[in-house]
């Protein structure tokens, strides 16, 4: 059985300053790390005998527009198949210069996941073989999943924003606490 504290101690002893913090979410521990070391941390988790996190389950990003200087958080979820343990790693990026090293050398499956992250949030993965948009049209010039952009296409003519409770009309039912 692999315990969270054991993983945290090993990471702290190997990387020291680069491990910024941790939090416990239900049954998966999330470790915050320094973004320069992301490839090294994941390589260590892959190679070490006792840790052995050799499967990349998920890769995505979250946008917090209120934390100035650390708006984008890129998160990886790795899995150890023998011990059946998940571990989440989070790295904070500045939205002015969202650079982070790519994982394609370690996990081939991270290729399209990183392209999707770039497409939605604008995270620049340094060293990626083919960093272009994967889901949206190639000519799109903004990153849609950031919080400042609306969901609906503003150029459509047939749907009336007033009737749908959106838009800046005076006939508003009051703000729902979204």
């Amino acid at each position: 059985m692999l315990e969270d504290q054991f993983i945290l101690e090993k990471l702290n002893s190997k990387f020291g300053e680069s491990i910024i913090g941790y939090e416990q979410n239900y049954d998966i521990m999330a470790v915050y790390g320094d973004k320069e070391q992301n490839l090294k941390i994941l390589q260590y988790l892959y190679d070490d005998e006792e840790l052995g996190f050799k499967f990349l389950t998920d890769l995505t990003a979250i946008h917090y527009p209120d934390n100035k200087g650390e708006e984008l958080v890129v998160t990886y979820l790795v899995y150890n198949m023998r011990k059946r343990k998940h571990l989440r790693l989070k790295f904070k990026l500045n939205i002015e210069k969202p650079d982070i090293y790519t994982l394609t050398s370690l996990f081939v499956g991270a290729n399209w996941l990183e392209r999707e992250c770039y497409d939605f949030f604008g995270v620049n993965f340094v060293g990626h073989p083919n960093l272009i948009r994967v889901m949206n049209v190639e000519e799109m010039d903004y990153f849609p999943l950031r919080k400042e952009y609306p969901l609906e296409d503003q150029a459509r003519k047939d749907k009336d924003d007033d009737m749908f409770g959106r838009g800046d009309s005076h006939f508003n039912l009051g703000k729902l606490n979204i």
Binding site: V137, P144, E152, D153, K159
Partner: protein, 190 residues
């Protein structure tokens, strides 16, 4: 001697297609060309199933043996636009897919009809987002809309029957008329 163990049952309730009214005599009949042509066309429509998402699975159920589509004359699903009459667009059309639908429509030969199956193809459905085309009638002219999410196979068959009505009653000069040309011009086709 062959014994029939099972009593022979003849289906006496067979529905035959009605002959349209014609001026008849001994060995000849005279009627409008458009009616004969319409009768032949409407009972042999070859659809092109342009299935993109969930409505495509309901179409597969329509095509299967329980709700048979072949009994309406659509025995052969032509997967190429050059050989089909009816373009059935089933499923959400994203903006990335729009030019593809337009190109497939342009490759079809006259007379051609378009059926939008499902809420997403008719008007965008539940996806009012930046990446979904709000209805395919923004890019191609549509004849029949089948609402539903996903529509039942009976609803898709109802749509086919409505298309049959349109096909059977079409005026033979419709495709060359100036109103039709004007409509196509408004879509940017021609």
């Amino acid at each position: 001697m062959i014994f029939n163990k099972r009593p022979v049952t003849h289906n006496t309730n067979v529905k035959l297609v009605e002959m349209p009214d014609m001026y008849q005599g001994e060995g000849f009949g005279a009627m409008q060309l458009s009616k004969v042509v319409g009768l032949a066309r409407k009972n042999s429509i070859w659809p092109l199933p342009f299935a993109t998402s969930c409505c495509g699975i309901e179409f597969m159920a329509t095509m299967a043996s329980h709700y048979d589509l072949a009994r309406f004359g659509s025995e052969r699903l032509a997967f190429t636009p050059r050989q089909c009459d009816l373009l059935m667009v089933m499923g959400t059309i994203a903006k990335k897919m729009g030019p593809v639908v337009k190109q497939v429509y342009l490759q079809m030969a006259e007379p051609r009809w378009v059926m939008a199956v499902g809420a997403c193809a008719s008007s965008g459905g539940i996806f009012d987002t930046y990446s979904v085309l709000q209805g395919i009638d923004q890019i191609v002219p549509v004849d029949v809309y089948v609402p539903g999410c996903a529509p039942r196979p009976e609803a898709i068959l109802d749509g086919i029957l409505k298309v049959q009505e349109l096909v059977g009653n079409e005026d033979i000069r419709r495709r060359n008329s100036p109103e039709y040309q004007e409509m196509l011009r408004s879509y940017g086709i021609l």
